[in-house]
Each structure stands twice: as structure tokens, then as C-alpha cells.
């Protein structure tokens, strides 16, 4: 048996770092089968425990050994509504693959890559879709078209509900379209998912902000019997250091939205984005990696990640960190920004360069005592400040919940941070008939958790509406 994962073909770093085409090319049939054969098919199935939605992993892999890829896909889709997405973006190394028995001695089975292959195989073959039941006479509203909203809508449609998804932006998909870049998750995959839902009778209403265009109360008045809120992680945080409002400072959300949603990378784009020379990205998560690699692709000469802890604590998916390094992203670890310095020409107040970013001032850190989560706390080293040249600084340091829906929905309880409070097993909120899930509840998390929360809530919504019907 091979001790290492079967390598997945990826494009050459030099070439791929210049365009927005997908980086990882996926397995061929032969590679997929070879990797599937590494699975020990253990009885106790530890990997399934590691999967937030408990996909029957050994079962789908054994189908792949027999080259029954469609069968493998069917097993995955029993638990996951977005396999082509999750196979690409899940942090497998901390989930299923971290529990793999093989992984104790060798490299774990490349479960994510196999999932991706099964999903891509299915999509390429585009077999006939199963028939969904007739409309059961009950309408449900879903707020937000990210993974949580889409999976909730999909599950409810399967049960015959009339589902309308309300989305604030002009395209459905949430972070999958405006956040995660094309080179990691082609937008075509997301579009296929939303089209599939529409083919099954789900209505997607873009350009509709719940809390503004309609309130949750008005949705009930319109005849929706339940509402699912999957409105995402919310407003970007800033550090509160001097210079954050200079020209050339972006939140990662803004930078990525300009590029992904508004296609600012295309030649004839009508939305601008700064094409900077030296870019500094503050933060260490997936969002930071995506921003850094996007900046490279826009033509930056140098891109650095500024993170206050060390490589070990970096929260991004390992594969993305690897890819970023290969492409030439510099990692400035154990550094914290203290100031963003602007350009000002003392001789000429009308100099067009005035007010743009010139440099980022950093302070060195060392790791101190572990915090309550067990991560070692960064401690700044006094007097170690220095400037690094930068004409663009991107802040990827997290988000805070958007208060819009809370402020316009009476009886909806939120926690101290502003996240919507739900009963974990059902997604039920404090307001009758209102359910919630995904980043709006947990704060910024993962696609798979959001998807799982959407499915859980769909089940609970079904139960809720059934019990109401019985009482009538």
C-alpha cells in the first residue's frame, strides 16, 4: 500500500499565479481509483465522526474502488448538498482526514479529493435529476443564498415545500460567489447548484434585502409559514489603528467582492480595483489567503501575509497555505500592524499620490501563554517596530454580525456578540416559525457547517409545519 496520498495534478505555480483559472485540476479516473484503494474500510469508521455532516465515507470510497462513481456520488449526496463545493473547500485536515486510521502512521486517505472527483464525474455526466414531489401547499422563505440557505431550500424542495430564497445581492451563492475566488471554486459550479434548485421549483429572488425591502413579519403576512435566516457573517472588522481609511486600504470582503462578484479582474470590467505593487494582507485565515493570492493574480510584485502568531497556529486550510507559498506569497509571521502610513507631499497638496498608502508599520511579536482556546497568545516586543513598503493593505481580521435583521424582527434573540441564538439540534430561534443557521449563528465558520445547519433547520421546519397542520 502507498503511504502517501495520490498527488492531485495542479497547475504550475508560475503560470497559475497570473490568471484566475482553477489551480487544482482534480484526479483522473485512474488516480481516483488508486487513491480509493488506499482506504482500509475500517469497521469503526472514525472519518465519519470527523465529518460535520457524517457523510458515509468508507461506503462511498468502496464504490469508487469498483469504479461506480455515480454510486459514490449518490452516497455522498445523502448527507451533503454541495459535494463539488465541499470537495474543494472543506478543511479536511482538521475534519474527516484528521481521524483517518491510515493517518496515524502514514498520510490519510485524500477524502476531499475523492469527494471532488465523484461530484465532478456526476456533473460532467449530467444524468437525469430525480423527480421532486408536487407542491404540498406550504410556503417557506429562506433569507440569504449562501451554503446554509441553498441547502435549506434544497431539502425543503425535496419535501414538496414551495421555497423562495431572498438574496440581497444581484447573484445567488453568498460567500461562494463574492468571497471564494474563481481559481479555487469556479463560479460555474455555484451557478449549476442554484440552477438545479430553480429547476426543482425553488424561486430565487435576488436584489431583495430582508429587513429593508421586506421585513420578516411581512414574509409571514405574505403566507410564508416559516422563515430560515442564513444571512452570513456580516460586517468586516477593522483594527482601529491610524491610517485605516487611507486610499489603498481594503477589507478583504471589499477587495474580494470587487474582484469576484464584480469581475474587476476582467479587461472590460466596469468596477475598479486597485492594481497594487506591494500588497500586505493582515490575517491568517482562508480569507487572508484568498485575498493574498488574488492580489498576486492582479499583478502585484510582492504580496505578504502579516499574521501575529506562527505558522503552526495559522488557521487557513493547509493546502491553501501551501499553494500560496508556491505562488510566492511571503509570510511575515509573528508581526502585528500598528499603523498604516500614508503618502503626503509637503510641497504639493494637490499631488495625486497624496492620501494613498505608502507603508505598513509592524511590530514583532513572540508567543506567550496559551489563551482560553489553547492557542498561544502573541506578545508584542517593545521597540521592535519597523516599516515595510506597501501601496495596498487588506484587512482580513474577521467580521461582526449584521444587526439589520435583528433590528427589524421583534422577538429574535441574539447573543452578546450579535449572533442569532438557536437551539442547536433544530436551528429554532426565540421567535416562533423563525429558524437560523450558518455564519449568522456561529460567526465566520465553514461551508460544511453552514450547509449542515441549513439541512438541520429544513428538517425542523418540516416538523414544525406538520405539527401546525395537525393542530388545525
Amino acid at each position: 500500500m502507498k503511504t502517501c496520498k495520490t498527488q492531485m495534478p495542479v497547475r504550475d505555480p508560475e503560470e497559475r499565479a497570473r490568471d484566475f483559472g482553477e489551480v487544482a485540476l482534480g484526479y483522473t479516473e485512474e488516480l481516483a481509483v488508486a487513491e480509493a484503494q488506499r482506504c482500509l474500510n475500517c469497521k469503526n469508521r472514525p472519518c465519519v465522526e470527523g465529518c460535520p455532516v457524517n457523510v458515509s465515507i468508507p461506503e462511498f470510497i468502496s464504490k469508487m474502488v469498483k469504479r461506480d462513481f455515480e454510486g459514490a456520488y449518490n452516497i455522498i449526496s445523502e448527507n451533503s448538498s454541495l459535494p463539488a463545493v465541499c470537495g474543494r473547500v472543506c478543511p479536511q485536515e482538521t475534519q474527516c482526514e484528521s481521524k483517518c486510521t491510515l493517518g496515524i502512521k502514514f498520510e490519510p486517505v485524500a477524502i476531499g479529493r475523492l469527494e471532488r472527483f465523484a461530484a465532478d464525474f456526476h456533473n460532467a455526466a449530467s444524468p437525469a435529476e430525480p423527480e421532486y414531489p408536487q407542491f404540498n401547499g406550504h410556503k417557506v422563505a429562506v433569507v440569504g443564498s449562501g451554503p446554509s440557505g441553498l441547502s435549506c431550500a434544497g431539502e425543503l424542495a425535496k419535501l414538496g415545500y414551495g421555497v423562495t430564497v431572498f438574496e440581497a445581492l444581484h447573484i445567488a451563492g453568498g460567500v461562494l460567489v463574492y468571497g471564494i475566488p474563481e481559481f479555487r471554486l469556479p463560479k460555474e459550479i455555484v451557478a449549476r447548484e442554484t440552477k438545479r434548485l430553480e429547476a426543482h421549483g425553488v424561486t430565487i429572488k435576488t436584489n431583495t434585502v430582508i429587513g429593508k425591502t421586506f421585513t420578516v413579519d411581512e414574509l409571514f403576512e405574505e403566507g410564508y409559514e416559516a422563515v430560515f435566516i442564513g444571512s452570513g457573517a456580516g460586517l468586516p472588522n477593522f483594527m482601529g489603528i491610524p491610517g485605516e481609511n487611507l486610499k489603498g486600504v481594503y477589507s478583504a470582503n471589499e477587495f474580494l467582492t470587487r474582484v469576484n462578484l464584480m469581475k474587476a479582474y476582467e479587461k472590460d470590467a466596469q468596477t475598479p480595483v486597485m492594481r497594487a505593487k506591494n500588497v500586505a494582507v493582515v490575517g491568517g485565515g482562508n480569507v487572508a489567503m484568498d485575498a493574498a493570492r488574488t492580489a498576486l493574480r492582479l499583478g502585484a510584485e510582492s504580496v505578504r501575509i502579516v499574521y501575529r502568531r506562527s505558522m503552526e497556529e495559522l488557521p487557513a486550510r493547509k493546502e491553501e497555505v501551501e499553494h500560496a507559498r508556491e505562488e510566492g506569497v511571503i509570510f511575515d509571521l509573528l508581526r502585528n500592524p500598528v499603523e498604516i502610513c500614508g503618502y503626503l507631499n509637503p510641497a504639493d497638496p494637490r499631488d495625486p499620490a497624496n492620501g494613498f498608502v505608502r507603508a505598513l508599520k509592524l511590530i514583532k511579536c513572540e508567543l506567550g501563554e496559551p489563551d482560553e482556546k489553547g492557542r498561544r497568545r502573541p506578545v508584542e516586543i517593545a521597540g521592535s517596530e519597523y516599516e515595510t513598503e506597501a501601496d495596498c493593505v487588506i484587512m482580513a481580521i474577521g467580521t461582526s454580525p449584521n444587526p439589520l435583521i435583528k433590528n427589524t424582527t421583534s422577538g429574535l434573540e441574539v447573543n452578546r456578540r450579535g449572533g442569532i441564538v438557536v437551539e442547536e439540534k433544530t436551528g429554532k430561534t426565540s421567535r416562533e416559525g423563525v429558524f437560523a443557521g450558518g455564519d449568522a449563528v456561529t460567526g465566520a465558520a465553514t461551508v460544511i457547517l453552514a450547509m449542515g445547519a441549513g439541512k438541520t433547520a429544513a428538517k425542523a421546519i418540516d416538523g414544525y409545519i406538520r405539527s401546525k397542520v395537525q393542530k388545525r
Binding site: N245, N253, R258, T271
Partner: protein, 281 residues
Amino acid sequence: MFEIVNKVRLNPGVTMMDIYAPPVARKAQAGQFIILRAEADGERIPLTVAGCDPQRGTVKIIFQIAGGTTLRLDNKNAGDCLPDFVGPLGCPTETDGIKKACVAGGGVGCAIALPVARKLASCGAQVDSVTGFRNKDAVILEREFSACSKKLFVMTDDGSYGKKGLVTAPIKEELESGTRYDRIFAIGPLVMMKAVVETARPYGIPVTVSMNPIMIDGTGMCGGCRLTVGGKTRFACVDGPDFDGYEVDFDEAAARLSAYRDFELAEREKCCNLFKKEIYR
């Protein structure tokens, strides 16, 4: 799709349109805005709701032809459709408890100021309005303003219509002669709003200003519209667009508006050539 049901040129550089968008028409209040795209793949731009007709389901927008997107928008005609039109966004203008107000509009800012003046008048407040323009050709909405104002001062930079001078001149005169407004609403270019704040300062009259930073989503997701207000970072699309004029960092806001100057110039030129049009200044 959102149909343009009516289009009127108010002056060579300013166009008014009524757009069919019933949910927005039902909800929008003075001070709120919409975001639209003039064509698929177009930029998202914010425009203030200049009025609406809930019965007909239409929303009025009045825009200055300033660059690429507004040129593209102006190139559309009644019967054409816009791919995207979302709103109402932002907070409505606070007018509670105001008995006597001055509403000052500069240029196309008058389109934003008019619903505020109307709302105040309909709540029973006494409204004095001051509108300022470059010259006679640029004057818009005079009839509409005089219908809801006790006094109306129309000002032009060159004196070709109304009185010669800036909007601050009649405000200053009124304040000097003892008029005590509960609040002044200033809506227009940043320099004009800043000047109104300075005019009101010696008299301690509160000033509400309407900010117009560059936006994308308009829902609080991107943070691109941020401003410094009272030393704190605020997002204009969710916390505003109205703010206390004494607290706004106007210089920073002005600097941020010029972030994409070169790109905008190129887009503008491209569209001017495409539509064989010039930007009226």
C-alpha cells in the same frame, strides 16, 4: 428586470427616471437610497430615492451624468429595463420634533434634499429652502421646492439666475437676522456641506449632512463606504447616509472619493465616445 417607465432630462447634465419596482416604492422614505446596475456586468451605484408612487409602483431617481455608469444609465430610455435595482437602503432622514428647518441643496443634491423638505412640510414643520447651482441652465426642481417651502432662495455661482452667491449666503443672513432653525439639512458636494456646517457653527444650530462615499453592496458587507464620524469608523450604507455634520471628517471623505480617479476618467472617455456624448459641467 426593472422597467424605466418614464425619463425626463431636467437639464443638460441631470436626468430623472421613474423605475418600476413596487416593493421599493411601497417602503422608501426620504433619505433612503437604492443601488442599481445599468447593465449586466455593470458597476453597482447608489442613487437616492427622489420620490415614489406606491400606487403605480414606481421609484423616482434623479442623477447627474458624472461618469461611466451614469452615462450608460442616461443612454437608456423609457421602456428599457435595468437588470438590478435594490432598496430601500440606509436609514430614513430623522425629522421628528422639528418645527422649523432649513433645507439646503447643492446641484444634483437638490434631488436628495427635495424629499426631505417635503417630509418636513408634510409633518407640519416650517421649511426654508436654499438651492444652489452653477448657472441658469443647471437650475432644477424650483417649482417643487417652492411648493413645500415658506421661503425659497435660488442661488447661482454666476448670478445668471436667482441670486449670485453660494448657498451659505442666505443661510447666514437668516441666522444673522435672528431666525432660529431647529436643524439645517445640507445635501450636496462635500465642500458645500462643510461650508454650511461652518456657517451654522457660531449659532450652535444642528446640521444633518448626507454623505455619498463609494459603495458596492450597500448592506454593510464590504466596509468600502466607511467614514470617520466623531472619531469612529461608521459605514454610510447602514449607519447613514445621514450624519451629524459637526462630527464628519470631510477631508478624509473627500480623499476617499478620488481613489479610482484614473479608472473613472478612462471609463468616462470610453462611454462618451461610445454614446457620442459629452459630460456637461
